[in-house]
């Protein structure tokens, strides 16, 4: 598999389909898949705990065995196999609040490397939400609370000072 892909995000992507496809007849699939998706969202947003990961696994196994049809029974597969083979990625999201593949936007954290920065101010000019504070004399800094992780500053910086 492409190692630049975030496995948690991939599992979430597949699960999104099943949640939409669930016919809604049986409880595990109707409510369970929705709850799995909610937990995955929590993980990709860096808000999950190790306990959530455990809950996710238990829930996934129950849905596999208790759903009426193949759709519900296979819905947890992407989750269970990514947990099995890429557990460190899950852990990185949960413990370090980092997405190793840099896909999960909520976990991206951009900062300006003051050594590379030439204090040109292009980043600040291109930031759509005004998250970059500073001036050409003192240099620039990203306010994490305002930043929406759009990546515009990074793209516009000619000196690769933002990462």
């Amino acid at each position: 598999m492409d190692d630049t892909k975030c496995m948690v995000n991939l599992a979430k992507f597949y699960l999104g389909f099943t949640v939409d496809e669930s016919c809604g007849k049986c409880t595990p699939c109707r409510i369970g898949t929705k709850r799995m998706l909610e937990i995955l969202e929590k993980i990709t947003e860096g808000e999950a705990t190790l306990e959530d990961l455990e809950r996710l696994e238990t829930l996934a196994k129950t849905i596999q065995k208790a759903s009426v049809c193949g759709l519900g029974q296979t819905a947890p597969n992407p989750i269970l196999s990514t947990i099995k083979y890429f557990k460190d990625e899950y852990l990185a999201h949960i413990n370090n609040k980092k997405c190793p593949a840099k896909e999960c936007k909520a976990l991206l954290s951009l900062s300006i490397n003051s050594e590379k920065c030439k204090k040109c101010g292009l980043c600040a000019k291109n930031c759509p939400v005004g998250a970059i504070k500073g001036d050409r004399e003192h240099g620039y800094e990203i306010d994490e609370n305002i930043c929406i992780k759009c990546g515009a500053c990074q793209k516009n910086c000619h000196f690769s000072a933002i990462s």
Binding site: V19, D20, C23, G24, C26, T27, I31, R35, E38, K65
Partner: protein, 582 residues
């Protein structure tokens, strides 16, 4: 080939007929498997997954309510895996449930609550988003609150398969699934008959009667209002259940005491209204029979049924008896004859009917159910609502002494009592029609052929020289069969009784709600019916036309059945009704 299947459940060998489900087989050896969506004879669709078990050799869990037994099967109903999975499934259901038990009508009688208790639920593990729903309270009879719905579909199966109405079905998909009507309209604007059978099928508080207790309390407190209550035959056969008494206990005496304690000025018996209905209906039948009127004549005392025919067979409305239902007749008499006699201003009178029925709430407010400006009946409360009022007033129901209904409208006949059960109206009417037509005494007064649970019962009764063919149908799917026969000209009956609810009013939509488990264990219909037949059997007078109350009423006021006055007060008319108002 043997028709018995041997299997092993939790280490116990058991032999059951082919076609038995694992759930039923387990029950035979007293192994209790929890259920939620299962409802005996009505809903076995395996969707809630609470009843899952493990079967050796199967990968996943299996729903025991739909899994049929197989030779040599080894079933485990209580392993750690099963118990944990059930707990998670229950947790998921609760996570999308409005867990407002304290203000819920089903608090204390809810299958979900019972399960939560049984599973020792201490918190919700999988809390998350909840589906959003509006409350539908536009109909006069039924309130639907889908924040309480667990999508068991017991209501859908009842409406679609038992009643064959199909007013409700599952809509949307996945997490957004919900029970809906055509165009997601209120039940008030679709083909619903207000029979209320969906309410008694619902395991939780998602479906309920429209509560009318507030207005009744208000009137009871108002010194200027003369508040009269009447109770339908079927109520006394079931009210006790709300207080833990055995199914089928006749609690008429305690009920009257309780109503007096609640502060009603007079407590009357709708059975007397039923006697009156028989007087009018038997007379109407004899008239039609003798004079070539529209036959078969069909009874009109079940408002769920009346709403059904108005929507589905408007071209056959001429067949419907013009008689109002017993409680409407009685209300009308209370506000005329009784008010005059007792010198009470009928405008200051408030008539409350305690009914086994939610359709009566709709019937009460029909334009036709009036005498001049005055409604015949001012409020209808169900058996369940009366039980709540009694509890609210801190009355220890089971400890009450008996008392009797108030005179002069008190003593009703046995014929009035059996109105509450399928076949009862027919039986009561035949007792009177027979003697009216022949002028001879009817010796054998129990018409066994119209009793019992068969959906459609037919009989030929010799009245004088004539053979009168009658049919009795209960449940709207059976009503439809009879109506199709009539429509196609294939019916040779002269008299037909139809009740909307399977079993008749004893199983009405306003009666105490019994859990799926109880419905599997007891024949509730039979126990309640036996109670009414017992009342009839023990009555000194068992024919409506022999009732002293009737004799007096006709002598002093109505003159004779079918008189001008009787028509004014006791008869009504019907009209075509659109099924959908979209």
């Amino acid at each position: 080939m043997s028709d018995l299947v041997k299997l092993n459940i939790d280490g116990i060998d058991v032999e059951v007929p082919k076609g038995t489900t694992v759930l039923q087989a387990a029950k035979q050896i007293n192994i209790d498997i929890p259920t939620l969506c299962y409802l005996k004879e009505i809903n076995a669709i395996g969707d809630c997954r609470i009843c899952i078990v493990e079967i050796e050799g199967r990968r996943g869990f299996v729903a025991s309510c739909i899994q049929q037994v197989e030779e040599g099967m080894k079933v485990h109903t209580n392993t750690k895996n099963v118990v944990e999975a059930r707990k998670i499934i229950l947790d998921l259901i609760l996570s999308n449930h409005n867990r407002d038990c304290l203000t819920c009508v089903r608090n204390g009688n809810c299958e979900l609550q019972t399960l939560a208790m049984k599973f020792n639920v201490k918190g919700i593990e999988f809390e998350g988003a909840k589906t959003e729903h509006k409350i539908d309270d536009l109909s006069p009879s039924i309130v639907r609150d889908f924040s309480k719905c667990i999508l068991c579909r017991r209501c859908v199966s009842t409406c679609k398969n038992v009643q064959k109405i199909g007013a409700i079905d599952c809509a949307q998909r996945g997490f957004e699934s919900c029970i809906s009507t055509v165009g997601n309209k209120s039940l008030n604007n679709v083909n619903c008959t207000f029979c209320g059978q969906c309410i008694t099928a619902c395991p939780v508080g998602a479906l309920r009667e429209k509560d009318s207790t507030d207005i009744v309390w208000e009137k009871l407190k108002d010194e200027d209002t003369f508040v009269v209550v009447q109770t339908a035959p079927a109520v006394r056969a079931a009210l006790g259940e709300e207080f833990g008494m055995k199914i089928g206990t006749n609690v008429a005496g305690k009920m009257v005491t309780a109503l007096k304690k609640l502060g009603f000025d007079k407590v009357f018996d709708t059975n007397t209204g039923a006697d009156l209905t028989i007087m009018e209906e038997a007379n109407e039948f004899v008239e039609r029979f003798k004079n070539g009127g529209t036959l078969p004549m069909i009874t009109s005392c079940s408002p769920g049924w009346v709403r059904f025919i108005e929507m589905n067979y408007p071209e056959l409305l001429d067949h419907l008896s013009t008689c109002k239902s017993p409680h409407q007749m009685f209300g009308s008499i209370l506000k005329s004859y009784y008010a005059e006699k007792e010198k009470i201003d009928p405008k200051k009178m408030f008539v409350v009917s305690v009914m086994p029925c939610v359709a009566k709430k709709f019937e009460r407010q029909r334009e036709e159910m009036k005498n001049g400006e005055l409604d015949d009946v001012d409020a209808v409360i169900t058996t369940r609502e009366l039980a709540r009022m009694i509890k609210q007033a801190n009355i220890e129901f089971t400890q009450l002494e008996d008392s009797s209904f108030d005179d002069p409208m008190g003593e009703a006949t046995g014929a009035g009592a059996i109105f509450g059960v399928t076949g009862g109206v027919m039986e009561a009417a035949l007792r009177t029609a027979y003697e009216t037509i022949t002028g001879k005494e009817l010796k054998e007064i129990d018409f066994e052929s119209v009793r019992g649970k068969k959906g459609i019962k037919k009989a030929t009764i010799k009245i004088g020289d004539a053979d009168v063919k009658v049919a009795v149908a209960h449940g709207l799917s059976n009503a439809r069969k009879i109506m199709d026969e009539i429509k196609e000209g294939k019916a040779d009956y002269q008299f037909v009784e139809i009740m909307a609810c399977p079993g008749g009013c004893i199983m009405g939509g306003g009666q105490p709600i019994r859990s799926s488990k109880e419905r599997s264990e007891y024949d509730i219909r039979k126990l309640r019916a036996d109670c009414l037949y017992d009342i009839d059997e023990k009555s000194t007078i068992r024919k409506s036309h022999e009732s002293p109350v009737m004799k007096k009423l006709y002598k002093e006021y109505l003159e004779k059945p079918g008189s001008h006055k009787a028509h004014e007060l006791l008869h009504t008319s019907y009209h075509k009704r659109e099924k959908y108002d979209l």
